[in-house]
Amino acid sequence: MELVDAIEIPRVGNVFLRQGPRREQRGSLILMGHHMIFAPQADSSNDPNNTANKEEFCILHRMIDRVVSEPRSRDPNSKGGILTLKCKNFMICVFEVLELDECMAAARTIETLSNLNGFSLDYPFFYRCPFTILDDGWRAFDVESEFARVSMNAPEMFRVSEVNKDFKVCASYPEKVIVPRGIGDDYLRISATFRDGGRFPVLAYFHRHTKSPIFRCSQPLIGPTNRRCKEDETILNALLSIARGIIIDTRSKVNAQSAKAKGGGAETQQCYSQWRYVTCGTPRIKDLHDSLAKMVDVSIDKSVSSDRWLSRLASSSWLSSIADYLNAAANVAQCVACEGTQEVPVVVHGGEGVDSTILVTSLAQMILDPDARTIRGFQSLIEREWICGGHPFSLRNAHSAFAEGTITGPYEAPVFLAFLDCVWQLTQQFQHSFEFTEGFLLDLFEHSYASEFGSFLGNNEMEKQKHQVRQHTVSLWSYVNNPEILKSYVNVLYEPNESVTWPSVAPQSIQVWERLFLRWQRDWTEVNAIREAAVQWRLKERQLASKALSLRRQLVELMKEAHLAKTLNDVRVAD
């Protein structure tokens, strides 16, 4: 199919932007294969102060979550229509269109183009990179370099396995994974048959001081008949040295038990006697999706009364979900960093091991690992854990909070967004400990739903390879690491810090991420100005400090010189 065929109407003239990313304005809509462009009308008023709004703005069709077109009024004689575009970043654009027919045609066009099946026609494949790529994001992070980082501190513990070559063992894993050193590929193959989706235990993180690793996998397929798998047990036991290990299940106890009837389940005490099994319940993805829908619904409601705001906030349970995830991650981090003096291996899994499992293991790394709190380290974490780790972005992020009806399925869930929200909570509690800004998190959120870059295309590495995403699209990291762009994401207030950022997970500490949920409702001048002022002071402090340092050095040099001159002089006098 050609995208052009879907465009019923290429241009809708004389529309009125009633609500959107800027003030009300007249202009026209231009519909293209991947974008919708709003071009403001040439300004007739000649107001010289009104320069900001002369520029067009464009929205990727993929960014649009839901399209609604309706007649402007019930009066059959009025011809106009109203086109409402609800976007995946929670922005809502409302256009008044003169002709209802045009409005409907535009709506149908956008609806089709924003819901294309698959991603082979997506914008990243057509995007021409306007900058030269200095640092190719597709090559920046690979298993080998991660392995090198890990094995520096643990030379004999792990190895890189290519058991998943051509994705034969597990469709959602990358071809190379890090596994315990003493375990052969045959064991991994057998373990894969015992784990949901073939996701056998692989290394997620290794703590260089306590030597405790975090492994992740999917649930064991114990089933109603109580199957067991000796090879799987051997793999886990290979991680143990002295202390008992801990298995953390991200499902609630009830959910983990009921999974057994459907062929899944959880490790039993008999078969995994050297492991302690703990549940840290986090929401199911379906519930998380509903939660977001409710949360966004209450945030965009401008007239919500004080009586309803808090109760609707509570009933959305978005904040409790965030608290649950943070709590689970803090538990994992605590096992790794504190539990006794001996190393304590931790295995994390939920059901399929691609959602809350990844969220919890990656969030635990944000807490534990100072590297993950840098921009580069954070990219690496997302690339390793989320993109290569097989979080199904295409399925989960097909729609966000507004879509309903047949265009959505059971697979959408804002798991990655929940992760970003959790990270944001950390950055709020530690404003000087993260190298990136809030803006970086927000941009990641938008790119994960609709992007000109290929990083979040497909559900796993296998799909990426099949569609040659790495060959034909630009990685988001190539863009981010461009020095000009990178500057805008750097948190100048960052102070590198080796210590663990233990978050408070008490409900009193969890806040609404206002910049995310109230972004289009509120004015941010104040927040930006405060930030900017703090940044300016910090820069000034640094400049002065380095100035003082260089002056001190000059002074020391001069004093040496003076001393030398004096000595020479003394010698001469003595002569």
Partner: protein, 658 residues
Amino acid sequence: MRFEDILTPRVDKVQLVDRWGAESNICGTVHVTTSHVIFKADEGSREIWLANGLIGTVERGSLSVAGCPLLIRCKHFMQIHLLINRDKVCQELYETLVNCSKPTNIESVVAFENRDQNEDARGWKRLEWMTEFSRQGVSSSWMKTDINANYKSCDTYPEQLWVPSTARTPLLEGSISFRSRGRFPVLTYFHRTNGAAIARCSQPNAGFRARCVEDETFMTLIGKANPHQEIVYLIDTRPMVNAMVNKVQGKGFEDERNYANIRSYFYDIENIHVMRSSQIKVVEACARAKTMTEYLKAIDSSGWLKHLRIVTECSLFIADSIAKGISCVIHCSDGWDRTSQTVSLAQLLLDPFFRTIHGFQVLIEKDWLGFGHKFDDRCAHIGANNEEAPKEISPVFSQWLDCVWQVWRMRPRAFQFNERFLIELHEHAYSCQYGTFLGNCDSDRKSLSLSTRTKSLWTHLDSRRDDFLNPFYEPASFGYLLDIDIRASSFVVWSGLYNRFDEGILPREDIYNSTMATIEHVGILEAHVAQLRNKLVELKQQLGKSAPGNASIMADSGHGSSSGAEGVDGIQSPTSVSISGFGEESGYCEGLLQPVALKWMSERDATSCSSPNCGFEFTSRSERRMHCYRCGKIFCRRCVHLTSDERERVCNLCNNAS
């Protein structure tokens, strides 16, 4: 506090229990003095000092194996859980603490023990009515009246009052007799720009039929005092229902038909009893709630945020009307609770002066202390033995501070003060350590001779002015604050206040504190760089390289402050500017210059004072961390002091080293 009320001045082997169960109990000793209750750990440096006035309620549980539990809930939201070995000792301590918390006579509170004669009288003169009204630029259509000299007309008003200059004494007397407790409409704020004014009063004794021609005429005169608009908005801050109930009791509200020039508005601000139980619930939620759902439900059912929003909404309406040139008269029932809240918040929104540290104090002196908010009763300074006393307690002033904080949070750059200032004010409204918030009204304070017998809180705050500065204050950028967003989502729980003593819950790193430290450090570095430059020039001259060398230093300096390259460097990787740590690089100035720390310790790691002899643990986030200029480490207030030339703040170690 009388000495004989202290049954047990000292209790040993008391265990301090961590409320969150995260840490193990700390064993120590409790000392009770006439001014403070002190817990001192046997080992380590943990100390808690609690001013007796801050003790709210004391509860004791039943004896168990662990000991006898005692819970002290404080008025500044600290909660102290103690375990005491013996039941009898616990009972004695319990009684002692109860005695401490409820002095029967206001003259036995701590403030009166401050017999320091060196009191700086400026604190007691924070508000001079005449000065303040001339600052406001009151026009000749208002005049001062002596009708309340010696508090003879209204015992809860100040002696000096301003009324329309056209109003004659009989008219005033008529209005006084028609208003509840004689609190007739008087000027509190004059808006110079357009001549509109805010007047405040109590409810009329209107009942269903009563009229008072003088009061009606008086209202017309208030209208006429405004050169542009004779209409006056009459704002009754109470819900309509409450106002109706008062009508039955012969009070109530003005009938628009009898007052030619008024438009009435009602706002649903609830009474002191509702606010009291609301705050108890919100504090309970902050202290206890374990899960997110539980917490949000509890906050919701407390209704606290809703109340804050209504108070703010009403104040915004007043401010907006004044900005539009319409005078407002505000009352509730007695005109000292809700009226004080809304009238003062409206002025804060209108006049940038009230957003300065000094102006804010003037505002409190004027609309809270001056016009008779009953601090003794509302804050329970004394535990009177009658049954009515508990019903008089209400967090009206706290609630107003909370509203101020909400506005502060929306427009932080408009305020000279920071959050710490509001928290400090909240504490001392209750602590009874200073005389400022004692007494129920102006005449009370005068008869207690507070200004000679006690210290003023303002003098204390003046001495710590640096602690309260907001690094982001932009004095010139903000006029009216009428565009604040008062949607429900804008009001949040002030955890800085309610969870003030829960170290673990508040953000570990705070941009206000760190930026304030940065600004201070920048000042020191600038002086240091200048000093270094001078020294360099001096040395070069000695070495006979004056001219060229000098030029190169100057050129260098030009780059230093403005060069873009250096800035970009800084942005790209903060790690690359590796400034040597504490104390290093000191060889440069052996005997030449005072050492100056290039890097300051970050507040994140500063949970306790860096002095090895002290090790004082900071008990709350809002406690100021002080850097030593020479070594850059963080100390508590006790371990640093100013050098004799007042140029440097140094720690004891650095001081001894020099």
